[in-house]
């Protein structure tokens, strides 16, 4: 319904405007309806401004900035209506160390709402996990879950 989408859109937009500066350590971003007169069919645009930079076409952002902007939006939607679990497959691949740390801290803060499963090649993300499942192929082409390391109380 028209009212329903408008309400969700506004709430998600509000959350997005809070999450973005947390992940970017500043800056601002918001969602905009392409056709505010036509709520039932309008598309949704993203405007984003990393700290100190000017508001520009979101396509001019760097690979890492685009990924972090997308993650901000995904987390904003998630905050409105958490799913019982969240599976993120290598979303940290384009991020630098500082951004990976902020991303992982935010995942930690969301774990009161949901279980998070992060597939990663990144050592910092691995350090943030409570438990690590290792997948290997001792026999070529045959997957095996082999190591389950519990995070040592630190």
């Amino acid at each position: 319904t028209k009212k329903h989408f408008q309400e969700s859109f506004n709430k998600i937009n509000e959350l997005f405007q809070q999450v973005f500066p947390q992940l970017f350590k500043g800056g601002s971003a918001e969602l905009r309806l392409t056709d505010p007169e036509n709520i039932l069919e309008s598309g949704v645009d993203i405007v984003a401004q990393p700290p100190g930079k000017r508001l520009q076409n979101v396509n001019l952002l760097s690979g890492g900035e685009k990924a972090l902007t997308a993650i901000s939006l995904v987390f904003a939607i998630f905050l409105l209506k958490p799913s019982p679990f969240c599976l993120l497959d290598e979303v940290d691949a384009p991020l630098d160390d500082a951004n990976i740390d902020r991303f992982n801290e935010m995942v930690r803060s969301l774990t009161d709402r949901s279980q998070f499963i992060l597939i990663t090649h990144n050592k910092r993300t691995m350090e943030m996990a409570d438990i690590l499942y290792g997948v290997t192929m001792e026999q070529a082409g045959v997957s095996k879950m082999v190591s389950v390391e519990l995070k040592a109380a630190s």
């Binding site: 902007t69 997308a70 990663t120």
Partner: protein, 168 residues
């Protein structure tokens, strides 16, 4: 409904029965390129009712059945089971007296499919209804597949709207 565990057998690169226990908090899944991590994501999508082979990187749904290696023969069936706990009480009344709800999906090379809830044969639609009722459904923002995060940015405004609608 919290997820307790996932069981795979004959699914993609997991010919032998494999059990993945879900924990509270953050679970990291690691391993070399091609070892099977993203196949676990595919297994979760599949048991939740994914009907498009393309979304599982395949040409046809038969591609999810273990197709063998240079040392091992292909298998005839893929099976995935996802087990939920009902302790939080958020479960359809039909299953309220169970402590666990297990959803299973099987696919045979013949093309035949089977679906189970707590080991009882059911229709795919019963699984969809169960997920709908509990809000555990597969939403675009609860599973972000490898390489897909950028699509939130590059998507057309109309496509992006669809992602928001799933939370509305």
């Amino acid at each position: 409904m919290k997820i307790k565990r996932l069981e795979l057998m004959g699914f993609k690169s997991f010919p032998d029965k494999t059990v993945l226990h879900f924990q509270e908090g953050i679970t990291g899944v690691v391993g070399p390129n091609g070892c099977g991590k993203s196949n676990i994501v595919d297994a979760i999508r599949w048991v939740m009712g994914e009907m498009s082979a393309k979304h599982l990187r395949g040409k046809s749904m038969e591609d999810v059945i273990f197709s063998g290696t240079t040392q091992r023969n292909p298998m005839g069936m893929a099976s995935v089971t996802m087990v939920f706990s009902t302790e939080d009480g958020r479960v359809p009344s039909a299953y309220a007296h169970f402590s666990e709800v297990a959803i299973s999906r099987r696919l045979y090379r013949s093309g035949e499919s089977e679906y189970y809830i707590n080991q009882t044969l059911c229709r795919l639609r019963d699984i969809h209804d169960l997920f709908l009722g509990t809000g555990v459904g597969m939403r675009a923002y609860s599973i972000i597949e490898q390489g897909r995060i950028g699509q939130v940015i590059s998507a057309k405004p109309e496509e992006r709207r669809l992602i928001l609608e799933e939370a509305a």
